[in-house]
Symmetry: C2
Subunit: 141 residues, 2 copies
C-alpha cells in the first residue's frame, strides 16, 4: 500500500501554510469534504488563497499518500483516513460514513485471484438511507 515516504519521481515538498491548512481542513472533519468545502474553510484563515492552490495541494497530498479520494458521480471527496475501509452512503442527504473493513476476503476475490487477476484494493460502498432520512421519508417528507 502506498505510504507517505516520498518516492523518487515526486518533486520535493515544501512546507507552506496553504498546504498545511488544506491538510488540516480535511483531517479535522469526518464529513469527507469536497474541494469546494476545503476552499471555503481554508479561506477563513487565509482569505487570498486561490482555488487552484487548494486543488493542487489536495492532489499533492493524495500523491503523497496523506489523503485518499472517494468519488461517485461528479463529486470527489477527500479523506484523511488512508487505511483501507468501506463506506455507507445515504442517497438522500449524502452522508458518507466510514465503516471498518471487517471480514478478510470476499468469495469473489478469491475466485478472481485464482483466475490470474492481481487485486490491489477494493471499493465497497453500501448505498441506502441513513436513520434520519429513513424516518423523515417514512412520514409525509
Amino acid at each position: 500500500m502506498a505510504s507517505s515516504g516520498a518516492p523518487f519521481s515526486v518533486p520535493a515538498r515544501r512546507d507552506t501554510r496553504q498546504r498545511r491548512l488544506v491538510y488540516e481542513a480535511v483531517a479535522r472533519t469526518d464529513s469527507h469534504p469536497t474541494a469546494e468545502w476545503v476552499f471555503e474553510r481554508v479561506r477563513r484563515s487565509m482569505p487570498r488563497v486561490s482555488l487552484g492552490t487548494v486543488y493542487r495541494n489536495l492532489q499533492l497530498l493524495v500523491a503523497a499518500g496523506r489523503l485518499k479520494t472517494w468519488t461517485r458521480g461528479r463529486t470527489t471527496r477527500y479523506d484523511a483516513d488512508v487505511e483501507p475501509h468501506d463506506h455507507f452512503v445515504c442517497r438522500s442527504c449524502g452522508l458518507l460514513l466510514d465503516i471498518g473493513r471487517a471480514s478478510g476476503t470476499i468469495s469473489s476475490e478469491r475466485r478472481l485471484r485464482s483466475r490470474g487477476y492481481w487485486i490491489e484494493t477494493r471499493v465497497l460502498d453500501f448505498i441506502g438511507l441513513c436513520r434520519n432520512c429513513r424516518s423523515r421519508l417514512k412520514d409525509g417528507r
Copy 2:
C-alpha cells in the same frame, strides 16, 4: 427491483430510432462504454445524431431502469446488465469486468442494518491488474 415499467413522474416515452440505437450500442458490447463511445457508434448509422441526444437518451434509459451507470474518477460508463453485480477494474488498461454477485451478505452489511441503516444497493469494485497488464508490466514494460 426497478423495472422498465414507466412510473408516473416519467414523461411518456416514444420509440425513436436514435433511442433504439443508443440502447443497442450499449447492449451489444460488454466493454461498458462511455457516452462518447456510444456517440461515435450511433453516428455510424446516423451521422447527424447529436451528442446531446445521446446523453439525453442514456439518461432516460437509466431512469427507465434499462441501463445502469458505473463511475470512477471522471469517467461514467454504461451497462445494459441491470442485475446487481460487482466489478473488477484494471488500473492499467481500464478493463471493466463483470463478476457475479456470489455470496449473500457481507458482515458489515448486517451490522449496518442492525444499527438502523437502510441498505438498497452496494457497489463493490476490485481494483488491480488484469492478466495481460500483469505480465506485460512484469517484464520491461
